[in-house]
Symmetry: C2
Subunit: 120 residues, 2 copies
């Protein structure tokens, strides 16, 4: 499997509601640089991404590129809170598992949706 294959397998699993399978592509000592800050280790990564993955109603892969050790995915997601939440992931893969992930998305619409919900 190339780095891109691993990134795509992870993407298909988490957008396909199989987060246990998604985690099989995540290294135990993953370092994830995400909008809220750095997340270290598979357990913390699951606590960060798992709840979001559970809210995804639909997704579309927009772009996928990679080389021997790294890959980039760009995608859009539809969630209960936010109808279009695009994201980009830049991953480093070793032995079929993602050891580093830089994930980029806009927290603003999620914060706005939570603020609306707390007012209701």
């Amino acid at each position: 499997m190339t780095a891109q294959d691993t990134a795509l397998a992870y993407f298909r699993a988490w957008t396909g509601k199989d987060f246990d399978k998604a985690m099989t592509y995540i290294a135990d000592d993953i370092v994830c640089d995400a909008p809220p800050g750095r997340i270290e280790g598979a357990e913390a990564f699951r606590a960060f991404m798992g709840p979001f993955a559970g809210t995804v109603e639909d997704s579309a892969l927009l772009a996928a590129f990679g080389d021997d050790t790294t890959a980039v995915l760009v995608y859009d997601t539809k969630t209960a809170l936010v109808p279009s939440a695009p994201g980009a992931e830049y991953v480093t893969v070793q032995d079929g598992r993602i050891t580093h992930m830089r994930i980029i998305f806009d927290r603003a619409p999620f914060e706005a949706a939570r603020a609306r919900a707390s007012r209701d």
Copy 2:
């Protein structure tokens, strides 16, 4: 020039404080899907990206990939308001100019910085 070459030339120009040069890589009828919504046309694009580019103090290219017509860049920027503001751009290029750009970044730290500034 490949699509990636064009994306990189645009990136180097705007992070290098030469936004006039950056605009030479932007199609007149560019469509840009950005966190605030869709931006259409070079003039609106300049109004959106130019002010942000002017605040960039430092930048680092993290990843660049492409094929015949598309490219993806992942980068980090340091701005006066936000010390680390990573972004991803997925672009389509025709005849050496970017005709479509999907740009992904987190607006939350910018909104927080503006809120702090308005309280001071």
